[in-house]
Assembly symmetry: C2
Homo-oligomer: 650 residues x 2
């Protein structure tokens, strides 16, 4: 065997081999490393991205980074924050450019914690992940590349994937076996090519873009804003960055041009001269250029994200689009997150392997929506700039729902919601309940529910009972791979509500065979530290109980049944005023759509949130076994175990 290029006889075993240490690879690696998986992670660059590249973190991605405990390390670099976008166009008469409008990049109708886009050099973001990985014992192997792989589940059901790796200088080689292989290689993915997966181009138009990062001296008033500038001399997009830097995107060529060539280029000086003309009557001088690059790009989506659910693609390997939408890194993060928790659920023995089939449709659909929006949005602007009253209408707190929004405002709202990251909507499937789901309990999705399955749970402020801290409820469970089960329990002084909560807790552990919860207890449940806050019973579930009452009226020992009282750090008072529901006594309940019944108290409910933050199912909280039965039906649709219906036993 000495003459085989890769020696496979002593291949080490990994849970996953990840190719590429850009945003998608790093997010996947970081999640799985935290959850205890053994990872081989390589990248063909000698070090992290030194300059340039995608660097916009959308509002929802910042929530995600915070949930991972990585936000403050990113904000420590003092990134630029884009709150508004300004539009500049030629004036009605005369020369030059005038501001024709501005609007919020994340308008108030989106209930965002951080209503801005964060702009920071990608290399700095990558380093935050790399530092976290190193804490968990994963070191990116650089500069290494993938030379081949094969996947054969029959030959080796446990570690079906064999991967051949090589140092980029060809001096070293190794072969490893893994349960999974992931390509986060970017647009030119070797893995995708080897699998013969094609790219479908959604928009037939291709472009050549010039992008320049640097420090400028200018009297252009909006240089710290995101700007779209159209002039008779061409178009530019301005993106502010950290350290007084600015990024300019200039479209150099389009396949609609008569002399189109994807190899068309422009020098740094040409782009600067062009920028001067476009910005006239304002002056612009470069103090320093940090980075300049020209690249052709088209909109495309990979036909498949996986063939066998062992070798997966994600990030730019699956979708390419114009940099203008600022979505690259954000989409990459969510690809990785979606796959990470599903691999975990399967490998930890919780979910059926078929759960992995939900990765491609969920993420491919989002990529298609992104590209469609990118086109629609661009067309919208090329037609006409928005009028001031349209911007105002589109930015209002609440969607009036009175059908008055015109097409422009509607598209704008959808676009804002989508680009902020809050608009990602996974379609109905085994995880995202709909009437077609196998779970048929009439308690599911009760009247009044404002939450939508497949979308994020609404943000809300509550008071943690044990320490009176005012907290962001949606951030209380860290990104730990667990489902988050929020029990909105109404008032502890309501006898009905109290009985319903007690029955819920009792039915969770009524018998080992009959509940989603009881079947997936930790093997070490008896020895868990009393300081464990999130997963004392099961690695797959964290419970939170939210009462519609002031904190001072809640006594955990009296009001929370035993099993749930173990999650004492996750008991909350829904007693914080919220401007979005100013008249609600219990704002979080109101935002979710609970306590809205005819009766004085209304009813509580249980919200199951997937490990990645998306709502799976909403169930009424009722006396008896019904609530747990409904959850059993829901989880039974994708768990390894099935749960008996036990109404008759009570």
């Amino acid at each position: 065997m000495e003459n085989t290029p890769f020696n496979t006889s002593t291949s080490p075993y990994y849970d996953i081999v990840i190719i590429g240490a850009g945003p998608v690879g790093l997010m996947l690696s970081t999640c799985l490393a935290r959850w205890g998986y053994k990872i081989k992670h390589i990248d063909n660059r000698a070090e992290p991205t030194p300059t340039g590249r995608a660097d916009g973190i959308q509002p929802r991605s910042l929530d995600l980074l915070r949930n991972m405990g990585l936000k403050s390390a990113i904000m420590a670099h003092q990134p630029a924050k884009v709150y508004e976008v300004a539009f500049w166009d030629p004036p009605e008469s005369g020369k030059g450019i005038v501001r024709t409008g501005t609007w919020a990049s994340c308008p108030a109708f989106i209930d965002a914690r951080y209503p801005f886009t964060t702009l920071l050099h990608q290399g700095l973001i990558e380093r935050v992940f790399i530092a976290d990985l190193e804490k968990n014992g994963v070191k990116i192997q650089r500069p290494w590349t993938i030379k081949g792989f094969k996947s054969d589940e029959k030959a080796n059901p446990e570690y079906p994937v064999e991967v051949n790796l090589e140092h980029t200088d060809g001096t070293m080689r190794e072969t490893v076996r893994a349960k999974y292989l992931f390509s986060g290689e970017g647009a030119r993915s070797f893995v995708r090519e080897q699998l013969g997966i094609r790219i479908t181009h959604k928009d037939p138009i291709s472009y050549v873009w010039g992008v320049m990062d640097g420090v400028v001296i200018t009297d252009f008033p909006d240089i710290r804003m995101k700007c779209t500038i159209h002039s008779e001399h061409g178009s530019i997009m301005v993106i502010p960055r950290e350290n007084n830097m600015v990024r300019l995107y200039i479209q150099i060529a389009s396949s609609t041009d008569p002399d189109w060539s994807p190899r068309k280029t422009a020098t740094e000086e040409e782009v600067q001269a062009s920028a001067k003309k476009i910005l006239h009557p304002y002056n612009i001088e470069w103090e320093r250029v940090e980075w300049y690059s020209v690249y052709p790009i088209g909109q495309g989506i990979s036909d498949k994200y996986t063939l066998d659910h062992r070798v997966f693609l994600g990030g730019d390997a699956c979708h390419t689009h114009s940099p203008k939408a600022g979505q690259g890194m954000n989409t990459a993060f969510l690809d990785a997150l979606n796959l990470a928790w599903k691999i975990h659920a399967v490998e930890a023995g919780f979910a059926d392997r078929s759960l992995l089939t939900t990765y491609e449709p969920e993420r491919k659909d989002v990529a298609e929506t992104l590209l469609a929006f990118d086109n629609k949005y661009a067309k919208l602007f090329s037609q006409r700039p928005p009028a001031a009253n349209e911007v105002q209408a589109a930015s209002k707190h609440t969607n009036g729902g009175n059908g008055e929004d015109n097409e422009f405002v509607k598209t704008f709202k959808e676009a804002c919601e989508f680009t902020s990251g809050y608009g990602v909507a996974y379609k109905p499937n085994v995880l995202n309940w709909s009437p077609e789901h196998a779970a048929k309990s009439p308690l599911i999705h009760p009247r009044g529910t404002k939450l939508r399955t497949g979308r994020l749970m609404a943000n809300s402020n509550v008071t943690r009972v044990v320490d009176a801290n005012v907290v962001h409820l949606e951030q209380e469970v860290p990104l730990n791979g667990s489902f988050r089960i929020y029990v909105f329990a109404g008032s502890p002084s309501s006898a009905t509500a109290s009985r319903a909560l007690r029955d819920f807790a009792q039915n969770l552990h009524r018998s080992r065979s009959s509940s989603f919860f009881a079947r997936y207890l930790r093997p070490d449940a008896d020895g868990v530290s009393p300081h464990e806050r999130h997963n004392p019973h099961s690695r797959f579930f964290t419970f939170c109980v939210v009462f519609a009452a002031p904190r001072a009226q809640i006594e955990i020992a009296r009001d929370v049944p035993g099993l749930l009282a173990r999650y004492r750090d996750h008991v909350y008072a829904d007693d914080v005023w919220d401007r979005r529901v100013p008249d609600a006594k219990a704002a979080a309940h109101a935002k979710m759509g609970f306590l809205t019944g005819e009766g004085e108290d209304g009813e509580g409910g249980v919200v199951v949130v997937r490990p990645d933050g998306y709502v799976g199912v909403v169930v009424r909280l009722v006396e008896g076994a019904g609530t747990v039965d409904a959850l059993n039906e829901y989880f039974g649709a994708f768990c390894t175990e099935k749960f008996e219906e036990t109404k008759s036993q009570l």
Copy 2:
């Protein structure tokens, strides 16, 4: 000279020698190092505080740390946050303890950004400062101690202080000369003793305290809260900390005891047994004790903080008090900050040397207020626990001002304001304007002003015009030693307001001899980077202009006169809604008390904020030279230069 113990012939020169690297020394050192001073900083401990010690950061101190850019490094340690204090007492009948009330540690009537106390091990806080110092080239010299010093301004007017230092093992010695010597040595200050300064004991009662840090297992429901527990078996104070830790303070002896001895002690086991009895019927077991100590303490204040305004004391060297108030570190920070900017103002050639005489009265008065409150507060509680309606009345958003508050509520409010740090009130002097001040312009302190000189400027949210970021106005100028001059300019569409702003800018630089601003320009003003945001003209002033208008209606090039337009990063729109002034069109103006006149627009004003955040003077913004004249009068009272009144010149 070989046989002199300290060789003075080649003494190196420093701006300041700082003894002690606890909170007071580190804050002083950090400020002065950032502002370019040459520092010798020693500490007699081999490394930073390893365990125990003061660790409460009050709300206002967190503002300060944020203003220094150090808050996120502290919060990265995930400190405990105390939002509420719970009171436990023996029940009316029966045994054990019951909760008799809770209240906010920083109630809503205080307009705090961070309405909680942050609890973190002092050593971790010290390390944040030490890391910052190292960035500025200052390394704490350890373990070194001070052996002697003398101060003789006549012999050496520039470097009057000679200091003898020695390694604690006696193997190395050095003598240095400095402009200043600062003792941050703690209660047993060698410098204070050498100066013969005595401690006056405000409260004749002394105590012996036991303090224990550790991890406990308990069913006591408020273990994550700050609690004051009285029982028939004694009293305990509970303070939550980071990493599941808790601190217990137990009073072991009081000088009012018949068998009083300041040497009375108790073992770890005795304190634990005592805690068990006091907490009954709840259980408490120690999983781990991190630190245990017993120490006698009395309330005392140093008679003097300096004798010659060259050798200064601060922090525990000046005031000792019970740890219960949680004020030690906070008072230390403010001692240092107060001194730091005054030394800077004098040494940089801006303020007359006599400015240094304001350090002792300002800070000693605060220490006396602290001790008085400590007593009053303690007595208040020993008399009776507060009734629920009293707590409610005391916690309301606004002080009704209708005279209905009873004595208890009044004291409570004062105490909360004081302990939060927002109540620090420097008395009238050359910096804090009052009718007795040398500045007599009738434009000073106009009717309607809500700001109080010698107190913090109100917190407010505004929108920065250049990048549309919503920001905290009071945080916009970093702690850089500059006075912060906030111009509340009313509406840019008001002709009167626009003329007043134009006149203000013109009069600032009308001639080199006649304005506080023109006299203190940077020598390198012509070569300052266009990216300098805070001090383009003068190291002593930063200007901010706040318009009462929506951001979209403000054009800096049109609305801000040239000189002020240079501070383009400090132009704001007062267009963010504030719950505390819900009906105000311009919330920041309203909170400061501007635009409250009879006319439709009302009038703007100029607020001068000292480098440490306290309001110095408030002046009406009027057409003509009056506003600048009034500021000239104010600054003329303590600057090295005097300014001619120039009304006649215009």
